[in-house]
């Protein structure tokens, strides 16, 4: 039996379909949508907050989505240790919701950036990277204007010391000026993970890379090992 992954759909999201496809291409996983108005997660074993521009990104990216009814269930699920993945806008939502440390600022260039980048796996202590090798490099695209991860120095030190930096841009390839080349961070327990690169767009050789499947494959392995 495949593990169920809920892909949250916010008004203004645009990458939920690719997230659904990426999950469904992963043996052992089966995806279904979770509309923003839902009050429970419909039995999902893991949740993905996809990329896009939830609620038009008014005020700040992710600031409004964090109050969607479904987020109450997602926050409860995350606090109980359920695996939650936020990609791009989803990462921003998780930071705004206080589930991940730091915040995403406008790129150093002040411009939208869209390109393939290489990220290195810094931590394998998350359900999404547990199948990767430490230091493994992944080729994945980024496409964002507000992707510069930031945390005040003390918080950044704490995140670093606790091993919560999960992905880092390869030296010299940081596309947004993020602090310490951070591309993705996890919470203290490792079950909540947010990243700017779009792993769900890197699941077919046709578009240049299948490295994104490393993250979804890790999740499948993690969920099959967890007793239901």
């Amino acid at each position: 039996v495949s593990a169920r992954v809920g892909v949250v759909v916010f008004p203004g999201a645009c990458d939920e379909e690719d997230a659904l496809i990426a999950v469904n291409r992963t043996p052992g996983l089966e995806a279904r949508y979770l509309p923003h108005g839902e009050r429970d997660l419909k039995g999902a074993d893991a949740v993905i907050l996809p990329g896009g521009f939830s609620y038009g990104d008014y005020l700040r990216a992710g600031a409004i989505a964090r109050f969607a009814p479904v987020m109450e269930a997602v926050i409860g699920f995350a606090r109980e240790g359920g695996p939650v993945l936020g990609i791009c806008n989803g990462f921003q939502v998780l930071c705004e919701a206080g589930l991940l440390p730091g915040a995403l600022l406008v790129n150093e260039s002040l411009k939208f950036v869209c390109r393939q980048v290489v990220v290195a796996v810094d931590s394998t202590a998350t359900p999404f990277t547990s199948g990767c090798e430490p230091g493994e490099q992944l080729s994945v695209p980024v496409k964002h204007t507000t992707g510069r991860w930031f945390a005040p120095p003390k918080l950044a030190d704490r995140v670093e010391a606790a091993g919560q930096v999960v992905l880092r841009y390869a030296a010299g390839t940081n596309p947004n000026g993020s602090l310490r080349d951070v591309a993705g961070v996890a919470n203290e327990h490792g079950n909540v993970f947010g990243l700017m690169p779009h792993a769900e767009h890197a699941v077919d050789e046709l578009t240049g890379s299948t490295d994104g499947l490393r993250l979804f494959g890790s999740l499948a392995r993690h969920l099959s090992a967890v007793p239901a």
Binding site: L59, A63, I64, E96, G102, L110, F150, A151, P152
Partner: protein, 47 residues
Amino acid sequence: VHVGRLIELEVGGDERTVTARVEEMCERLLANPLIESYEVQATGAGP
């Protein structure tokens, strides 16, 4: 680069209650205290 925004809210009540409510709104939604600072000014009755 420094970017700011001005948010005008009409909130009824005495100044202390209003300021407290608006500060709570700032903490929860209007500002992200990690990356933004804010200042609340009560300006009396609106137009």
